[in-house]
């Protein structure tokens, strides 16, 4: 038992794949897992995705561009197979969480992966002294008992940098909310599908705990 089964589906000691679709800072995520002693690999191939134990979907940039690249490379189908058929865990980070949604309004509108019902919108804050992008550390309050925030304090600080946010259609999908002007959804946990608007790989100890919780459940 053990190392022989490293690459077979279902082995809990197996592979976390970080998807490389040219839109994300992968080095920090890899570094974070490395410091936790958790092995991971980086790949852009749908085949690697489908045979992974768990997936990290990072993302920096535009919703529309991300979806264009993902569809073009067949990553959307691979993700669907992995999460719906094989029911393996997926963690979307920042733009990676946003593209889990049904659609995003940026740049005229684009369809998302549709794994979590909801829409991605631009901030439109009443208090005009609050600046966009929302950048810096802010508190995430867990909105339900969930695996994502296990071992963390009540309202831990995480690093955010974004101008758009995801508005979830179903409150049961939401695992965390944050206040900046108004309160909005900043973490989702729907069974094996997780997402965080903040960057766990940039949030010191708190963030590393999220990654550890993801790798374990």
């Amino acid at each position: 038992m053990g190392t022989d089964f490293r690459n077979s589906l279902g082995d809990t000691a197996a592979v976390i794949t970080i998807i490389d679709y040219n839109m994300g800072n992968l080095a920090s995520i890899v570094g974070a897992f490395k410091s936790l002693g958790i092995s991971c690999r980086v790949s852009s191939s749908p085949k690697d995705i489908v045979t992974s134990d768990r997936i990290i979907l990072p993302g920096v940039g535009s919703f529309k561009k991300a979806m264009d690249v993902i569809k073009e490379r067949g990553i959307d189908e691979a993700l669907n197979t992995l999460t719906n058929i094989h029911e393996r865990p997926l963690l979307g980070i920042c733009l990676g969480m946003q593209i889990l949604a049904s659609r995003g309004e940026e740049g005229g509108g684009a369809q998302g992966l549709g794994l979590i019902e909801g829409e991605v919108r631009r901030f439109n804050l009443e208090d005009k002294s609050l600046k966009i992008p929302h950048v810096g550390f802010n508190e995430v309050v867990a909105s339900k008992k969930c695996k994502m925030f296990e071992s963390l304090s009540d309202s831990p600080d995480f690093y955010f940098v974004h101008s758009y946010f995801m508005a979830c259609a179903n409150r049961e999908d939401v695992s965390g909310v944050t206040t900046y002007g108004s309160t909005f959804d900043t973490a989702v946990e729907k069974g094996n599908i997780w997402g965080c608007q903040f960057h766990p790989e940039k949030s010191q100890k708190n963030g590393l705990m999220i990654l550890e919780n993801f790798s374990r459940f």
């Binding site: 994300g24 800072n25 992968l26 080095a27 920090s28 570094g31 974070a32 490395k34 410091s35 920096v60 940039g61 535009s62 561009k65 002294s129 609050l130 600046k131 966009i132 992008p133 929302h134 950048v135 810096g136 550390f137 802010n138 508190e139 831990p156 600080d157 690093y159 955010f160 940098v161 974004h162 101008s163 206040t179 900046y180 960057h199 790989e201 940039k202 949030s203 010191q204 100890k205 708190n206 963030g207 590393l208």
Partner: protein, 255 residues
């Protein structure tokens, strides 16, 4: 609520890190030396972001510089911004690849605004911090580029407006006159023009003591402070500064 940020700046010159005074640099030591003598790991746990600026004459991204970034990023789990000698989209991709979260642009915005717009359209405005270095010339704040060596002839207010129009995500305003003096930030200038700033504002130039940070961050219009002052904040210095800020009820991240 959104917390204020304490940003540490590392000035990199040909393999060494430096101290700066009025933008004139003095080499202090290489990465290993900084790690040992300034307890870099402890620094990284007491700041909210790290900013690394390449102040070398070459003004381009060298393999050494990129390698150093990669090495630093692997040890600290906070946002890292990289600046100095970034000219084009390809440079932006190279930095993202080695682990930079944001890039700091200055001269490039003046010399090639179209390229900057391209970078912003691909990576988003939050990927770009616009840096403005200024000093008083004949009673008015004028903007300098190329490491404070070139007078653009433009006024600070004009450049702030120009940068916001191009769509950078944040502004870093640095007082050349106060840089490295430890006398405190140029709060009068910032207080006078803050209403024209609609995006997150980081100020730097002059930090010497924790209460400089307190005065700055107690202002609603200042979102973050940055310091490159290695000496004043070595080893436990930054932890102390953070402690003072928290005890003065400045909202800062806790972990």
């Amino acid at each position: 609520m959104l917390k204020k940020r304490l940003i540490f700046v590392l000035l990199y010159l040909d393999g060494h890190f430096c101290l700066s005074r009025n933008f004139s640099a003095q080499k202090v030591g290489d990465l290993e030396w900084v790690r040992k003598n300034y307890d870099f790991d402890s620094i990284s746990k007491n700041i909210d972001e790290l900013l690394i600026i390449n102040i070398g004459k070459e003004k381009k991204l060298t393999a050494d510089f990129l390698g150093m970034i990669e090495s630093l990023v692997s040890r600290c789990f906070i946002p890292v911004t990289v600046g100095g000698g970034i000219h084009n989209l390809e440079d932006a991709y190279r930095l993202l690849y080695v682990g930079a979260d944001k890039i700091l642009l200055n001269t490039c915005i003046h010399e090639n605004p179209a390229e900057v717009e391209k970078i912003i359209s691909i990576f988003g405005s939050q990927f770009v911090i616009g840096a403005i270095d200024y000093k008083k010339v004949e009673g008015k704040n004028r903007v300098f580029t190329k490491g404070a060596s070139q007078d653009t002839g433009l006024l600070l207010e004009e450049v702030i407006s120009q940068y916001q129009k191009i769509g950078v995500g944040e502004l870093l305003l640095t007082s050349i006159g106060l840089d490295g003096t430890g006398q405190g930030f140029d709060l009068p200038t910032i207080d006078a023009l803050h209403s024209s700033i609609k995006i997150p504002l980081i100020i730097s130039g002059g930090a010497g003591r924790p209460d400089h940070f307190v005065q700055a961050l107690q202002r609603k219009h200042i979102d973050a402070v940055a310091t490159a002052n290695l000496f004043n904040f070595m080893a436990g210095g930054l932890a102390d500064a953070r402690g003072v800020l928290i005890s003065e009820r400045v909202p800062l991240a806790l972990w």
